[in-house]
């Protein structure tokens, strides 16, 4: 089993005819992902290496049964792409695009409240269920099927940690990059809840970084709701104090957003925190050995 995507997931790629769009579509397909459609307005009727292109997401869904959308379009078109996928009834929307204005994402996030869609991203590497489906830009070759779920705010740091796990022979159920933007779709808590319900996920790695209070809220959720063991990593211990944020930010979160504060929140919740990516993999290995 896996969460969010598996070998049955049918993906439509919005922006398939762009340079990045074509490149990653074909990489995902080569990995084994069922890429059933592409969408580029004005290019309906064409195909990309045999993948049919449609003018609208609605048409792509009607004709191919796509149940996931991968968005690889420039930032200024991305909010519209997300609305279009949602209005076409696509349950899983994965937006890789970086640089979308925060206000646009605030509108998107509030539009999606109460609707049956899960947004992953934006500004994220997407997600992969190793051996089953890769929806995004995570290099499939560093992953391996197995029992560890992974949720992360970072892209390349995720690859680094996945790589350490795979080198030790520890495979992954699903790796999710939630993205680094302040307003994003899936968060730690949503992902942790799914991993907790997944019978084949026996351990979870959570990769956080400085800023916001996603990690603190994840720590609360873990201590209240999780039986599956979690190992955490927080990047940014030696980051200089951020630029002036005014004083409003600290009041909102009730937290300083520092790596130290986040690591302490995890430790208080009984979640071990790795000092570096290698140490994270060691902790996962120990944790799995205990529950085996």
């Amino acid at each position: 089993m896996a969460v969010l995507v598996d070998e049955r997931t049918k993906v439509a790629v919005q922006g398939i005819t762009g340079r990045e769009g074509t490149f990653h579509t074909l990489r995902n397909r080569a990995y084994g992902t069922k890429v059933v459609a592409g969408v580029t307005p004005g290019k309906g009727g064409q195909d990309v290496e045999g993948i049919p292109v449609f003018d609208t997401v609605t048409e792509a869904v009607r004709r191919t049964g796509a149940d996931a959308s991968l968005i690889l379009v420039p930032a200024r078109f991305s909010p519209d792409a997300i609305y279009e996928a949602a209005d076409a009834g696509v349950p899983l929307i994965v937006c890789i695009t970086e640089g979308i204005p925060i206000q646009d994402m605030a509108l998107v996030a509030n539009y999606l409240i109460g609707k049956p869609h899960m947004l992953v991203g934006p500004n994220c590497p997407g997600l992969i269920s190793p051996g089953k489906s890769n929806v995004g830009i995570i290099p499939g070759e560093i992953c391996k099927p197995g029992p560890v779920g992974l949720i992360s705010r970072s892209g390349t740091l995720t690859y680094q940690i996945v790589n350490e796990l795979t080198h030790r022979g520890i495979g992954q159920s699903t790796c999710i990059g939630m993205g680094g933007d302040p307003i994003h779709g899936i968060g730690f808590v949503d992902a942790l809840a799914r991993f907790e319900e997944d019978p084949e996920t026996r351990g979870v790695v959570l990769i956080g970084e400085i800023g916001g209070d996603d990690e603190e809220r994840a720590a609360d959720f873990i201590s209240d709701h999780m039986t599956t063991p979690v190992v955490a990593y927080v990047a940014g211990f030696s980051a200089p104090p951020g630029k002036r944020m005014g004083h409003a930010g600290a009041i909102v979160t009730g937290s300083s957003g520092t790596a130290k504060g986040k690591a302490e929140a995890f430790e208080a919740a009984g979640v071990p925190v790795g000092r570096n990516p290698v140490h994270v993999a060691e902790l996962v290995e120990e944790t799995l050995a205990k529950t085996a």
Partner: protein
């Protein structure tokens, strides 16, 4: 992008938020002329992005144009808390009856905006939140609906009756700045009730979303008024995320998380990072070369650590970029390179074949950090 007080106030003026009359001066003489025009009694305020100006000598309240000139001369020559000051804001002195606080900011957890008004202002707002939380009223703003009139009325409902209408109007104009200028923070501390009954913004703190600057060329242009060091300017121009730090191990990586993790690992190995540099996703050879030039231009750097885990970024382009940079500039320090991920083997082969005397290839991140720290230390010892 954080705006200076006077830049924020220009935005306030455009949106009709009442201000105290004033102008920016870049020289003591200019400050005197502005003070003359304003009638002599003025506040001379250092334009810096650091708090605590009032207590720290960054604001001078003076009685005459001559005093305004000497206050401006002192602030412009001494700077404020180690930061150079190139401009002062000269404003008419006003009679303050009451001080409040108002802010609208992004609440990432709620995925909405948060508007706040405090009946106590002019002091550190965290103190108010701790000591008298009931002084702060807050409402969550759904971006689809905006700040509704009833919400603005509630926000100011605990202020003195004579200040409510003015403050509510200002709150709605602050929200208009959030939407029109893509601000993620608009803060007024203090918001004051004057002796004559007017409510005005005495200070401004505005942060504009960097991702939205492309649709606000007028705001993006304000950056030119910022003092920038040449290394930083060069990095910005090439779209590299560069932050100067005060150590001696130069750092280049791809992806903010991995770069932060690299800084941490270097610190754990006993070194001090000289910078944060994120070359970004899908970096080309040219981007890599520029990154190396930027980092090597810092005279404090004793060794460089290049830590790349390729996803979109391809190892062979990174290797070519490093060699290209070394053909353009003389590297006086060792460069430790760790390549992994997409096409890493090809990249490592390219580096091996070039056999450049400055390049030290190391297979893992932790070993690479250790090596870079070790080389920085021996280089320092050698230099001493």
């Amino acid at each position: 992008m954080d705006l200076y007080e006077h830049q924020g106030k220009e935005l306030f003026a455009k949106h009709g938020i009442p201000l105290v009359e004033g102008s920016v001066a870049e020289s003591p003489e200019q400050a005197r002329r502005i003070a003359e025009r304003l009638g002599g009694r003025v506040a001379v305020k250092a334009q810096v992005q650091i708090g605590g100006r009032g207590k720290g000598g960054g604001i001078a309240l003076v009685e005459s144009p001559a005093d305004a000139e000497s206050a401006a001369r002192r602030i412009l020559s001494e700077g404020f808390r180690g930061t150079p000051v190139t401009r002062v804001l000269v404003e008419r002195l006003v009679e303050i009856a009451e001080q409040f606080y108002a802010a609208i900011t992004l609440d990432r957890s709620a995925q909405r905006y948060l508007a706040m008004v405090s009946s106590e202002g002019g002091i550190v707002i965290e103190e108010v939140a701790r000591a008298t939380p009931e002084a702060i009223r807050r409402v969550e703003v759904d971006p689809i609906l905006g700040l509704r009139t009833y919400q603005a009325r509630y926000l100011v409902g605990h202020l003195p009756a004579s200040a409510r209408e003015g403050a509510a109007g200002i709150a709605q104009k602050m929200y208009a700045i959030v939407t029109a200028a893509d601000a993620t923070l608009v803060e007024i501390n203090p918001l004051v009730l004057l002796g004559d009954g007017a409510v005005v913004a005495l200070d401004s703190k505005v942060t504009i979303d960097d991702n939205a600057l492309s649709r606000h060329p007028d705001l993006a242009a304000l950056r030119s008024a910022f003092p920038v060091d040449p290394t930083q300017a060069r990095a910005n121009e090439k779209g590299l995320q560069y932050v100067k730090l005060d150590g001696e191990v130069g750092i280049i990586g791809n992806g903010a998380g991995l770069v932060m993790s690299t800084l941490d690992v270097v610190t754990q190995a006993g070194g001090r990072p000289a910078n944060f540099l994120d070359v970004g996703g899908g970096a080309s050879a040219d981007m890599m070369a520029t990154s190396l030039e930027v980092v090597l231009s810092d005279p404090a750097v004793r060794s460089v650590l290049v830590n790349i885990f390729g996803g979109i970024t391809r190892g062979e382009l990174v290797a070519q970029g490093i060699l290209e940079a070394l053909s353009r500039i003389e590297a006086g320090v060792p460069i430790v390179v760790r390549l992994d991920g997409t096409n890493a083997e090809e990249g490592r082969r390219i580096l091996e074949k070039a056999a450049h005397p400055r390049i030290v290839a190391v297979p893992t991140m932790l070993e690479a950090a250790k090596k870079a720290v070790e080389l920085a230390t021996t280089a320092s010892a050698g230099a001493a």
